[in-house]
Every structure is written in C-alpha cells, then in structure tokens.
Amino acid sequence: MTWFLRQVTAVTVKELKQLRRDPVSLLLTILFPIMLISIFIALNAVFSAPSYNIAVGVVDLDNTPASKALMDRLATSSVVHVTEIYQDEEQAFAAVNNGQVVGSIIIPKGFGNALAQGQAFIITDTDNSKITSSGLILGELQAQSSDLLLKNTESGNQLGVKNLQVEVIWRPISGRPVTTGDPYLPGLLGMIILLGAFDDIVNAICRERERGTFPRLILTPTSLLAIYTGKMAATVVLTIIRTAVMLVILRATGMIIRGSIPLVFLTTALIATFTLSTGLVISSRIRSSATLTFLEIAMTFPLLYLAGVWSAPLMLDPTGKFISLSLPWTYGNDALRRIMFLGLGLNSPSVSGDLFILLASTLILLPVALVLSKRTM
C-alpha cells in the first residue's frame, strides 16, 4: 500500500513539474480563469450600469403639454440620449434604418387627449438587431409614460390613471439584489474547472504520447493503476488550486459565498474527475493534443448554454432541456449554485442529489475510460 502511494505521489509530482515547465499550459491554467472571470465582470458591469446613452430620435406630432412633458422626461433620462428631434416619422424611420439612432419615438397627434382618457399610445421604431438596447429603450419609455400617467398635471388636475390592475411584488429567496450577476458566477466556476480538467488530461495523456514519454513511463516498475491515479491526483490538486483562486476572485468582486467552502471544493473535484473520465474516453479516439484542445474550446461556448451556466435547463427548448439534463456537468453547476448562492449543504436533497448524479456518472465512466485509454497505449 505504501509502495503504491509512493508511486502515485511520484507520478503526481512529475505531472505538476511538467506543467510548471510548459509555459503555454501554465498560461492556460492560470490566465484562463482570470481572463474568463474578468470578461464576465466587465459584461456584468454593462448589464447593471446605472445609466446608458442609447441614441434615440423623437418626433412630437402632438405639441401639447402632455407630449412636451414626455419629451422632457426622455431628455433627462439616464437610459436614452435624445440625439435628434425630427419633424416627421419618415425622417425618424430613416435614421433608424441608417443606424444613426437605435430607436425612434413618435408621439402621435391626439396623444394629450388620449392620455387624459387613459387610452394613449406611442409609436416606436427600434433597431431590433440590437436586442438589449431596443429592449432598454422600450422599458424606459414604459417607465416614463407610466410616471407621466400618474403625475402629469394637465390643467392643474392630476391624471392619476392606474397602470396595473394587479402589481407583482417579487421576493427572491436568497434575499440578494435581483440585478446582480451572482447566480451566473458558480456556473462559471464549474466551466473553468471543466476546461482546466480537460486540458490537464490533454497534457497528461496526449502530449505525453506525442513526446514519446508515455511508453517510457509504462516501462518503469510503476503500476498502470498508480500512473492513472497519479495523473488524476495531479488534476485534483490543480482543481483545488483553481477553485481557491476563483473563490478569492469571486470574493474580491463582491460575491458573498454562503455555503460550506469544503463542499465547494468537493463539488469542483467531482466535476474535474468526471471531466477527466470524459477526456480519457475522447483521447482514446482523438490522438492529437491540438485537435483535442480545439474541441475543448469549441465545446465551451455551447456548454455555457447547455450546462446551465447562462440559462436554467428548465427554460430551454425541449431538445435543449433533454441534452442539458443528460449532462452530468449541469448537476455539478447546479450544486455549486445551491451551495454558494443559497448556502445549502449536503443535508439538502437537491445538493446531495446533484452530487450523487455526478459521482455515479464518474463511477460508471471512469472504468470504461481507463480500459479504452489502456487499449490505445
């Protein structure tokens, strides 16, 4: 047993030393999580920005105090920036088509009278190829016109028209602000672990094969089981380092991690081990390390959607939902979210269920992966 452990430790140390000597792999291991999280933080800042300057044009065909009040509100809005006041609709539509403005707002004739009766409408023409910007324009217009309905004092009388029959009061159970990007961060950690572990296996198997050092390793008295266990142990060590780095970054960006930190490490280690098994299976068919890395990168972007990082699996199209729920990574990411975001532990059936699925998938795949990998030596 001691002899076996010594062999495993030797292989693990060898793997870590090899990584340290390979600047490109080291770059990918260290820089990749930092870069991915930095880009996400930059994007998150965009979505939670207090103000935007989205260019819009306005046409006031009504010229009443009500329409002027709406124009004033738009002019002082923190979301849209009125760059042009057009004389007619045609000019406004042309400006959207030419890309001069993202949207045009046309206040029709009779707007003031209709507003007093609670039956007003506004015409908008937005460049819907810019889906977020046009959505923000419409949202701002809704908010400003809603405010106008309640507060507009025409002829000294408040209109006081009610917006909604029923108001929805939204209370998230985490108690966190609804506009933060925090629910996405645990999934992002899961993806970083996935990619890191996949790259580890590319290094551990394919590159070793390409360098010709694998046969030499097998010819040593080290048992095959110790070689594979050592390689997996190296991945687990790297996963622990990656997780620790990520947790520090997440904490520095203001995310409050509620659950048990050791449980986060356990979950990422399970994600890494499953990824390792998948990598072993794939590397038994695809021998080139560059091709494998290319595949790894190609699958990153679809997996952001399908492994429940950007979107909850239940919200996907039926095919997408099926694929998503068939991927063990989805359960890993889900467990990370529940632990880090909601503060749930192993006593929660949802977390233990997720971890069980991940563990079971690994236990099924790992022996298959080892057999396939052994055959390709």
Binding site: N97, T132, S288, F301, D317, S350
Partner: protein
C-alpha cells in the same frame, strides 16, 4: 503568369492535404458548423417552433384570499400557454420552504383582501417568491406573470386574450412597435455564422501553418522559388472555398431544417460571411508569421473568440459598452462585420447601404494581409528554419 500558376498550385496542394485528413474534414466542415447550429437550436428552439421558457417550471400557487377573483387568477394562469405546471398549495410557509429543493421554483401568493382591493378600484398585489439561484429564471417568471396580471379583471370569468400590443405594454400607455421582429433563432444564426467562420478560419490558417512548420513541410514550401504572395494567396483561396462550404452548411441547416428566414438574399450573406472569414484569415497569417506552435494557436483562438464574444457586439450591444470596452469594440473590425451581418440578415438592409461597415472590413482585410505579407516576407528564412 508564374505567380498565378504558383498560387493555384499552393491552393491545390492545400486542398489535397485537406482531402487526405479525415479529422480536418470532420472538424472543419461538420463538427464546427453542426455543433454550433445544433447548440443554437437546443438553446432557443428552431425558428418555426415556439415554446414558452416558463411553461415547464413547477410553480406553487397559494390562495390566501379564497375568493372568486383569486380563483379566476389561478384559472387564468393555469390555462395559459406560459404556466403549464401550476401546483395549488394551501400553506404559504411550507410552499416557500420548498424553494431551493428543485421541486418548485416559484411561489405565487395571493394575499387576503385581493378581491376587495380590485372591487374598490385599489391596486391589488400578489407576491412572487422565486428560487433566484437558477440563472435567468426569476426575472423571466416575474415578467411573464406581470403580463397576465396587469390587465386582470376579477369580474370576468374568462380574461380577454391580450393583443401583442397590450402584452408589450405595462405602463397603461400602449407601445405600437414598428421595428422589425427578430426571432431568437435568427439572432442566434448571425452569431453562429460569425463564430463558425472565426473559429474555423483562424485554426485553418494559423494552426495549419503551425502544423506544417512542426511537420517540416512548410520549410520545404518556403525554400522553393515561390513568391510569398503566391503562398499566402494560395492558402487564402483554399480557405475561401472551405468558408463558402461552411456558410452553406450553416445556412442550409438553419433555413431548411429549422425554418430560419433571413431578410436578405444568399449572396449578401455569403459575401459578409466571406469578409469575416478574410479578416480572420489575415489575422491568422499575421499570427502564424510569429512562429507559434499549434497548441499556442488553439489557446490564442480561445482568447480571441472569448474577447470577440464580449467586445464585438456578439453578446452585448456595442452601444451599451462603456469606457475602454467601447473603444476596443470600435477598433475591432469584427464589430463592423457583425453589425453588417445583423443589419442585413435581421433587418433586410441592402449591403451597399452599409458603407461604413464595408469600408472598415475591406480596409482591415487590406491592412492585415499587407502586414502578413510584410511579416512573412521578412521572416521567411526564420520560418523555414
């Protein structure tokens, strides 16, 4: 004449090499286009299929009012196309306690006095508790629920079906939207087309040259009397052929299998797709001139695509970026390429009207290929060593 025949020879050689590599054919023409297109379908559904993202989410409904109005609200929601899995619950606390367990993801609570408020003309309120650990789900449930309750009339047994105009208005002032409707699939198609070309072309050019260098065949090519221009042009022609095939694969699958309907003709899409490919090829040649290895190319590609996703309008509209990120977006030629792709495919704007986008794209291609030629020409000996 020699230049032309050399160029053709290089292009032909590249095609022969490609034809002999089963994995190259698989990755370049099948895995990348199909993988990304299928992922788009899996994420957003096809263009002709419609599904509600909230339809399959189990949601508890707790009625503390127990009146005709609250019952009608339950019926309205349960019979809608957006809430297929409404579960009636009798205890507010136990329903809320189930959140986070994955049995239910939201709880709608109708408080006591709901009907009274409606009858008296006061604003009635309902409370929505959500499991906000699921990305994007809480906001989606909230906005969909708001659409149903905003005009809810407790006196009517059946609520009138809202027109799209009414659905889009939550302010009491209706919004008549004239902008072209862009389906999620069509928007996704523009992203897929751009990403597939960037992904594949960068790897084929920079990765291809790096691989040839590693196997020693590029050195042999460089010591022939062939001009640098012939080599670059020959490889470019070969990759343009592949890019054309890829464009048709993505478009064919999207249009004929998943019902996408671009608002422009195929020629325009092909031209734009090839312009994106050419910009990427120019960048690929410039990178390859620095003698990078295949693995380094792949890693660079990852960072490139990640960077472009964030800062070229693929994910976030350029208009929303601020400070240095917006400056970066305006420097990147891919921003203009993607803008042109969206404006033609989604809005149907003729290509020739997009003069700024086209000028930037053509200019970038000339600059990148010029730079690549310069780098290759001056480091030819080093590349051959």
């Amino acid at each position: 004449m020699t230049f032309v025949s050399d160029t053709v020879a290089v292009a032909r050689n590249e095609l022969y090499r490609f034809r002999r590599s089963r994995s190259a054919i698989l990755i370049s023409l099948f895995i990348i286009p199909l993988f990304f297109t299928f992922s788009l379908v899996a994420g957003s559904g096809g263009a002709v299929t419609s599904y509600s993202p909230t339809a399959d989410i189990p949601i508890a409904f707790v009625d503390n009012d127990n009146t005709l109005a609250s019952l009608r609200l339950l019926q309205t929601l349960a019979s809608s196309k957006d809430f297929h899995r409404i579960i009636q619950s009798y205890n507010e606390q136990s329903a809320i306690a189930e959140l986070g367990s994955k049995k239910i993801y939201a709880v709608i609570v109708v408080p006591k006095g709901f009907q009274n408020n409606l009858v008296n003309g006061n604003e009635a309120r309902i409370t929505l508790y959500t499991d906000d650990s699921e990305p994007g789900m809480s906001a989606q449930i909230d906005s969909t629920l708001t659409i149903y309750v905003q005009r809810f009339n407790g006196n009517l047994e059946f609520q009138p079906i809202l027109t799209p105009l009414q659905e889009s208005s939550t302010s009491g002032v209706e919004m008549l939207e004239l902008g072209c409707l862009c389906g999620a699939f069509n928007i996704g198609l523009t992203v897929v087309l751009a990403v597939v070309q960037i992904f594949a072309c960068f790897y084929e050019i920079a990765g291809g040259i790096a691989h040839q260098r590693e196997t020693g065949t590029f050195a042999r090519l460089l010591i022939t009397p062939m001009q640098t221009g012939s080599i670059i042009l020959g490889i470019t022609i070969f990759d343009v052929v592949l890019s054309t095939i890829r464009t048709f694969i993505v478009l064919g699958l999207s249009m004929f299998v998943y019902g996408a309907s671009p608002n422009t003709d195929l020629g325009t899409i092909l031209i734009l797709s090839l312009l994106i490919a050419l910009v990427t090829m120019g960048l690929g040649f410039a990178v390859a001139a620095f003698r990078v290895g295949t693995r380094a190319v792949v890693i660079m590609e990852f960072f490139l695509v990640l960077f472009l996703f964030a800062f070229s309008g693929l994910w976030v509209d350029v208009e929303l970026l601020v400070g240095i990120t917006r400056i970066m977006a305006y420097i990147l030629p891919f921003t203009y390429a993607y803008d042109a792709l969206k404006r033609t495919i989604l809005l149907g704007i003729p290509l020739l009207l997009l003069t700024t986008d086209l000028e930037v794209l053509v200019g970038s291609i000339i600059i990148l290929f010029g730079l690549s030629y310069f780098l290759f020409h001056h480091s030819r000996e080093k590349l051959a060593s």
